[in-house]
Symmetry: C2
Subunit: 453 residues, 2 copies
């Protein structure tokens, strides 16, 4: 009957040591979110498939984890469908619910469903796991946490600016050096329009993105190969050769796209944003990056991406402005902007930088060694006093061998061990051993509380 | 294309106001758990069905949410099974994973899988949602949180005692008056054996359970009707008429069951436990309750149940000792004891008692009213200072009508609103309005920080 236990591939258990580190990241992020006036919500793990399907493209639909209907589900499937054996079509008859794939669609659904109770602009954060039936690989999991922060119901660019401040504040606290790359969908649309290729924005952006890697000539060749006219490619050259400060770059871009309506709007937005940012004391580098093409299919204004400057890894935070997230659920014209922090990658960066704090408030601070009934009775009232003073403390639950108890303290990284035998009891004191230095002190209960606080 | 959005029945969204209250409960519970040396773990939402099936009885197997296999799942189902249309059997071919049903089985799986890294006794807590395809009704959800705390790998009764201390401490902090009812499976087994009906322990317990409601005579009649011999029922009478203190009750029971091995052991365990408990300063009432039959099929020693004394509701915490939880995963003879706090019911008790704290550190403390560009520029540096001082603060992102901004502050229950127009800017001050009292003060930036800290 005994089975060798395992967990589904792409999922993970988190040990106490990992939990302490993960909570450090989540707590830091939450604290900053709250500092900026954001409030938490949570949504169910399961959503109706009608809410989820069609929101993440065809590939996304396939990657949704679907819940098998309960009860006698098979009797509700038409015989013809069973005969056809088309798994895709059968899914719609076998499943009505799926696990959430991200936090954005559930948030949009939440806003529409609760719009009468929400006071806009709605500043919410949400830190919950999401699930994707992706092929698991190093650093990619089927269950992972997202940490989303969004403002919905305000067009003000101050929101974009505050998100950059939040990014700066979070990574300052986590001691990660970052660069925030910023782009604007309207500028990209302006470029495509100005060079007479309004429909080819994505092809153009994808090509520009390769500039660093393959060089100007090959980028031009690729665009021509993709059917973009030579005239258009020529008009694009000043933008490919952008140099100087953000101001200078914006000036140069403006010369190309300033006469398109969308382009002029994009330039104006970026000038306002960078104007705000210049007046702030930011630790993070902030950079205009026209090659940033993240989420181009739904972002409508600013686009953000954050990279670690010291550790080679994908982006550790990203987001942008979306002008019609809730439209699909029947609530049009509500603009929002938000970013999502990648907790798993941030964890990896902190591991590589060895930048997790060594002390943790979450672990046990002191262990009473258990020498037997009499000694236990002597220790228990003081143990209760320590806890009353807010000190995490415990007693080994049985009078096991000294070595076993010390090993327990070591493995649990408990910094202080308290011993009380006949001598201590007679003197009404306790021997406290600092497990790192090995130093021992003989203290009474009050001194004990003081040293452990 | 617009859909009216909804969520699956039995699931819930949590608004910011609800999150604050839920976090208050979770944070209180976690703080106490840590105070007693417990550490958190987390396990995946999905487990292999081989881990979950058969652990919760036939009914439980049905109530598991199962994940539909990805890809072309139908081609892997034998034609014969499709023709038979037996949903139960088909499930095994359509699904390999399920959502966790409780935290106990995943914990047992975790312990066995990670035994080489775990330092025993392992004191762990786990606060995560679980899912059950139960019929939703008032107070019963398909997604709900469990808060489990267990010690595994120690037989010491000190663990049982510490769990009672934890219960006492948690509910003291939450200001809920409770009674902790304690029973022992070994005493129940001893009773059944002593009256010559060793196999009928559960029938006997179920009947005893009704004593308060239907009275002694009807209880006796029910036992006889269930086939328990009249001699046995007669022998049981002293136990049904138990009176007095816990000590006196134990003495009376001992006279009946003291000669059975299991009964004597149960009595000894309870004497030890209550001996410890008498020496502690507990706020909660603790009571021996022979009618407590919770989880009789897997508990092997102490059984706990906690009730609110002021609010009529089911148990708000419960648990017990189980001697072989990990055996089913191939790791026999590891004893554990634990309790689970019912966060949803605790929430309901606190709502009914109106006992949630009114102040919350999680909400915004001050809102700057936005009067326009110049005023905004004057406020932003001070806003940054407030945040640096750890004060949750925000500025309304656009210069909307005053009424809109004040409504926003009211609905978000922001206690202070800060106004700065021409007069304030000239005086280099800020008008601070206490939203509850209506009182206004004119302060400079330093005074502002002081008053809001």
């Amino acid at each position: 009957m005994a089975q060798k236990p395992s967990i589904p591939k792409g999922t993970r258990d988190f040990s106490p040591a990992e939990m302490v580190r993960r909570n450090y990241i989540f707590d830091t992020i939450k604290e900053v979110f709250r500092l900026y006036g954001f409030q938490p919500i949570e949504t169910p793990a399961m959503e109706n498939l009608s809410t989820l399907m069609g929101k993440y493209g065809e590939e996304g639909d396939k990657l949704l984890f679907k819940i098998l209907n309960s009860g006698d589900f098979i009797s509700k499937v038409p015989q013809q469908m069973l005969d056809d054996k088309n798994s895709n079509k059968l899914t719609t008859k076998l499943s009505e619910k799926g696990l959430r794939y991200d936090l954005t669609v559930p948030f949009a659904r939440y806003v529409v469903q609760n719009r009468s109770e929400i006071s806009f602009p709605f500043k919410r954060y949400q830190i919950q796991p999401v699930w994707r039936a992706d092929r698991p690989q190093k650093g990619r999991y089927r269950e992972f946490y997202q940490c989303d922060v969004d403002v919905i119901g305000s067009n003000s660019l101050l929101n974009e600016v505050e998100l950059v401040q939040i990014i700066d504040d979070v990574f300052k606290r986590l001691q990660i050096n970052t660069v925030v790359k910023i782009n604007n969908r309207k500028i990209l649309a302006g470029i495509a329009e100005a060079i007479g290729e309004a429909e080819r924005m994505i092809d153009i952006t994808v090509a520009i993105d390769k500039l660093d890697k393959i060089g100007l000539e090959k980028v031009n060749a690729e665009m021509v190969a993709k059917g973009i006219s030579e005239t258009a490619v020529e008009k694009l050259q000043p933008i490919l050769e952008l140099e100087g400060s953000t101001q200078e770059k914006l000036d140069q871009i403006e010369q190309v796209i300033g006469e398109t309506e969308v382009g002029a709007k994009g330039i104006a937005e970026m000038r306002t944003m960078f104007g705000y940012l210049e007046n702030l004391e930011l630790d993070t580098e902030v950079e205009l990056d026209l090659t940033l093409a993240r989420g181009l299919n739904y972002y409508t204004g600013a686009i953000f991406e954050v990279k670690s400057k010291d550790v080679q890894i994908g982006s550790i935070c990203g987001g942008g402005r979306y002008d019609d997230l809730t439209g699909i659920f029947g609530m049009p014209d509500v603009s929002g902007v938000g970013v999502s922090f990648g907790a798993e990658r941030i964890y990896d960066v902190l591991v590589q930088q060895d930048a997790f704090p060594s002390e943790s408030l979450e672990t046990t601070r002191a262990l009473f060694v258990n020498f037997g009934e009499k000694e236990e009775a002597y220790c228990l009232p003081v143990l209760a006093k320590l806890r009353k003073a807010g000190i995490n403390a415990e007693i080994f639950p049985e009078s096991a061998k000294m070595k076993k108890q010390m090993t327990y303290a070591n493995r649990k990284q408990i910094p202080f061990v308290i011993l009380a035998g006949d001598n201590e009891i007679e003197a009404q004191k306790f021997t406290v051993k600092n497990m790192e230095s090995g130093e021992q002190q003989l203290l009474n209960a009050e001194e004990l509380i003081k040293i452990l606080s």
